[in-house]
């Protein structure tokens, strides 16, 4: 039996950090609704590279990993044949994370005031509920690689913690067409070409395991189709220079937020990116780029017995998300990643029209009953007019992720995100939430506070890889998240006004993939 030798350098730091390991003994993480992409030990095994060669810390890609991906999972040295001799290579990686988890948030809680009555509760009060326990993430099966030189695939069946599976990513790629790195095409369900990848983030908490900027939707807005963080269905062109310094992409997408089965209507959107890396000498290769997500989505559905008919979407209205991306290295140990966003939805979306069928990008269907069933979004049937004062919701957001890489085995990450409404869908906005009494989060033409829905999100992560080989990956992670959103918390039983949402989450996880 040939066992890979443990690297001595790793060994030294293993001793060095063993105290830390002990400290991080409980790990865990969570399972956010969104699925995660990973390091693929399958790739590492195929190419004989350690995880650290492609990942700043897996699954976050470094420049070398980015180039590997841009080349269609090819290293461009003839190891790219689908399978080579090494019998240890099997192109499947799985990832799952057992966690210990503490969640804390305020709810409007029934108070048990009258033990003798038929109903054990009568009034309610805002109370903070804190829960702790051991938990599990979903299971991801990553399989990807080359079918033939310059033809690659990626298939990722992914489950929730109860093992209900869906296809998170499925795509085929044609790379280096006519021998040019500038010509690559993929088709399927895939992650958009976001320089700061959400699928590769290490955050695992409910609010830290996604980028708020990639999913922000104004309160009561019905447009779920502009979520850059969700894998989308479509076709993408990607081009890059030989050394990957210059990257460009354009994708044509169904406005379906990745939902299969033509659930919505005949609407498309486009996602465009450009970024340029610059050799900054001792600092590293720094990148600056921009993206634009522009498109249309339907705002009403034909109905049958009052229930929307899937696939019948009409009344397309526009939306856009544009911003800058930056990746700034300050030497090998410290880097800062920035994404800005200027978002704009058509006024119809602002009034809740748009998605009358699915709840999210993963196919959850809620409203199959007749329209105007409580809880169902409105349907923009012919003759509907916009309420007076309705206007396009507009907002700005920023995500700043800084990473301190103590060594390839130990990394500290801090994420700060801010989402700020600059124009609410309903009127000019009013100064305090009391002045807008009762209108928060409803679909009527009441005014909203100008800051309704604003978010501050903080995430802190320590991630430690006890060993590093080219065979498998394991990380101990601790994460703390604080999430704050204006006016979306529980409704106060006293004022009837929505309180601000303040939640926190602590996770200790054992993240492994093979």
């Amino acid at each position: 039996m040939r066992m890979p030798k443990q690297s001595r350098l790793c060994g030294i730091s293993l001793c060095f950090h063993s105290a830390l390991t002990t400290a991080l003994v409980l790990i865990f993480l969570v399972l956010s609704g969104s699925q995660r992409a990973n390091a693929l030990p399958a790739f590492a095994r195929k190419y004989g590279l350690r995880c650290s060669a492609c990942h700043e810390t897996w699954p976050i890609l470094n420049n070398f990993g980015l180039k590997f991906r841009d080349n269609g999972y090819q290293i461009m040295n003839d190891h790219d044949a689908p399978i080579w001799q090494n019998p240890g290579y099997w192109p499947v990686t799985f990832r799952i994370t057992p966690i210990w988890h503490r969640v804390s948030a305020v709810s409007d809680v029934d108070t048990y005031q009258n033990v003798g009555a038929t109903l054990p509760f009568g009034t309610t009060a805002l109370q903070r509920i804190t829960t702790t326990g051991f938990d599990l993430s979903g299971l991801d099966f990553h399989t990807g690689g080359t079918l033939e030189k310059n033809i690659s695939f990626y298939v990722l069946p992914s489950s929730d913690p109860t093992a209900a599976f869906h296809f998170e990513t499925v795509m085929g790629r044609f790379d280096n067409l006519f021998g040019s790195p500038w010509l690559n095409i993929k088709m399927g369900r895939f992650e958009l070409n976001n320089l700061l990848s959400e699928k590769r983030m290490v955050g695992l908490t409910g609010n830290g395991g996604i980028y708020q900027t990639y999913h922000f939707i104004p309160q009561a807005d019905g447009n779920i189709f502009g979520q850059m963080g969700d894998n989308q269905l479509g076709m993408e062109y990607v081009g890059h220079s030989y050394d990957d310094r210059t990257r460009i992409s354009a994708a044509l997408l169904s406005s379906a937020d990745g939902n299969v089965n033509l659930t919505f209507g005949n609407a498309y959107s486009g996602f465009f990116t450009f970024d340029q890396g610059v050799d900054m000498g001792k600092l590293g290769v720094d990148r600056l780029g921009f993206y634009a997500f522009v498109g249309q989505a339907s705002t009403y559905f034909r109905t049958s017995g009052g229930a929307p008919i899937a696939g019948s979407g009409l009344g397309n209205k526009g939306f856009s998300r544009v911003g800058f991306t930056g990746q700034f290295y300050f030497g090998p140990h410290f880097d800062v990643n920035v994404v800005t966003q200027h978002g704009n939805d058509n006024a119809w979306f602002g009034q809740g029209y748009g998605n009358a069928i699915a709840t999210d990008g993963n196919g959850g269907v809620t409203c199959t009953g007749p329209q105007l069933t409580p809880g169902c979004p409105p349907n923009n049937t012919p003759g509907t007019v916009l309420p007076a004062g309705a206007q396009a919701p507009i907002w700005n957001g920023v995500t700043v992720e800084s990473r301190y890489v103590y060594s390839p085995q130990l990394i500290f990450i801090a994420v700060y995100e801010a989402e700020r409404m600059s124009q609410q869908a309903n009127g000019a906005g009013c100064a305090t939430s009391l002045a807008c009494f009762g209108t928060n989060g409803t679909y009527t033409n009441g005014q909203s506070t100008s800051n309704l829905g604003n978010i501050n999100n903080y995430d802190f992560i320590i991630r430690y890889n006890p060993f590093m080989t080219n065979r498998a990956g394991m990380a101990l992670q601790s994460e703390f998240n604080i999430f704050h959103q204006i006016g979306t918390g529980a409704t106060s039983p006293i004022t009837g006004v929505n309180t601000n949402l303040n939640s926190s989450e602590l996770l200790l996880g054992l993240d492994f993939d093979f």
Partner: protein, 289 residues
């Protein structure tokens, strides 16, 4: 008592003396290597330092899995690489490198190592590292050098002079063919360049590992570069550590260009030389002239 002491010290001396040659064969230790960590490299106007934090960090992050902590090519991946399909990672301690602008047997220049790292090695596990900044690569060159005592005791060779490239003519292509036959490139590379010459199957590198000759006809990239200058350099300096020799003593500098032109006719990539060969109806050389 005293006798005993004498006896012991004799033993100690004997053991030490006897172990000297053994020790000198044994692997270099961390201390030997650390003593050279003030190694520098110079490429263009950049200076790389083996002891820069960046070099150590990058070597550990990117290189150590193959080339090993001690630079001896014994990283954990090495065992999975089976020559001749997949050459073993280079042992930097030996200070012997394939891709050089300098005469055979001499050390490469810093630029040569820099180019090798940036270019990667086709038909091997060695990736292309051109995503790094120039500074990162120069630092890595210094780091690679510090593993071998040769870089302290010797200077790099003087790069060979390459005369300006002449116009391709039919005569030059024909002459190149003559040289290919005369110096017997075909013994290893085969008369059609398909790496199937009479010696091809028995080739071994200096460490006794099987090695394949270059197959010109498959469209593969030569390890040491694909330009005309690179190919000129390849057979005029040789790939040290492999059976691919230097022909500097057998081929005159100007004639060497003719051979480059002829090699182009064997390669899969379209070229002017290929067109000429087709027009001339050039046949493969004969193994028995």
């Amino acid at each position: 008592m005293r006798r005993n002491w004498m006896k012991w010290s004799l033993w100690v001396v004997a053991v030490v003396v006897l172990s000297l040659p053994v020790a000198s064969w044994a692997q270099l230790t961390t201390q030997d290597i650390a003593a050279r960590d003030n190694m520098e490299a110079h490429v263009g106007n950049l200076t790389g330092h083996a002891n820069s934090g960046q070099a150590k960090y990058d070597y550990r992050r990117y290189c150590v899995g193959c080339h090993g902590d001690l630079g001896d090519g014994n990283g954990e991946v090495a065992q999975w690489l089976d020559p001749p399909m997949w050459p073993k990672p280079r042992d930097f301690q030996l200070g012997i490198f394939k891709c050089r602008s300098t005469p055979t047997g001499t050390l490469p220049t810093d630029q040569d190592l820099y180019d090798a790292i940036s270019r990667g090695f086709d038909r091997s596990a060695m990736p292309i590292w051109n995503v790094f900044t120039k500074q990162q690569r120069v630092d890595l060159v210094a780091f690679v050098k510090h593993f071998s005592p040769r870089f302290v005791s010797e200077k790099p060779g003087t790069p060979i002079q390459i005369p300006p490239e002449p116009e391709v003519t039919a005569d030059r292509v024909k002459n190149g063919r003559e040289i290919f036959a005369r110096v017997q490139c075909w013994k290893c590379h085969g008369v059609t360049g398909q790496a199937n010459g009479p010696s091809a199957s028995t080739l071994q590198d200096d460490l006794g590992r099987p090695i394949a000759a270059f197959n010109f006809t498959e469209g593969a990239r030569p390890k040491c570069g694909s330009t005309d200058q690179d190919i000129y350099r390849i057979f005029m300096t040789g790939l040290d550590g492999t059976p691919m020799p230097s022909f500097a003593d057998n081929i005159k500098p100007d004639e060497a260009w003719d051979l480059v032109f002829y090699l182009r006719t064997l390669m899969a990539q379209p070229s002017k030389e290929k067109d000429i060969a087709r027009q001339l109806g050039l046949k493969p050389v004969s193994p028995n002239p």
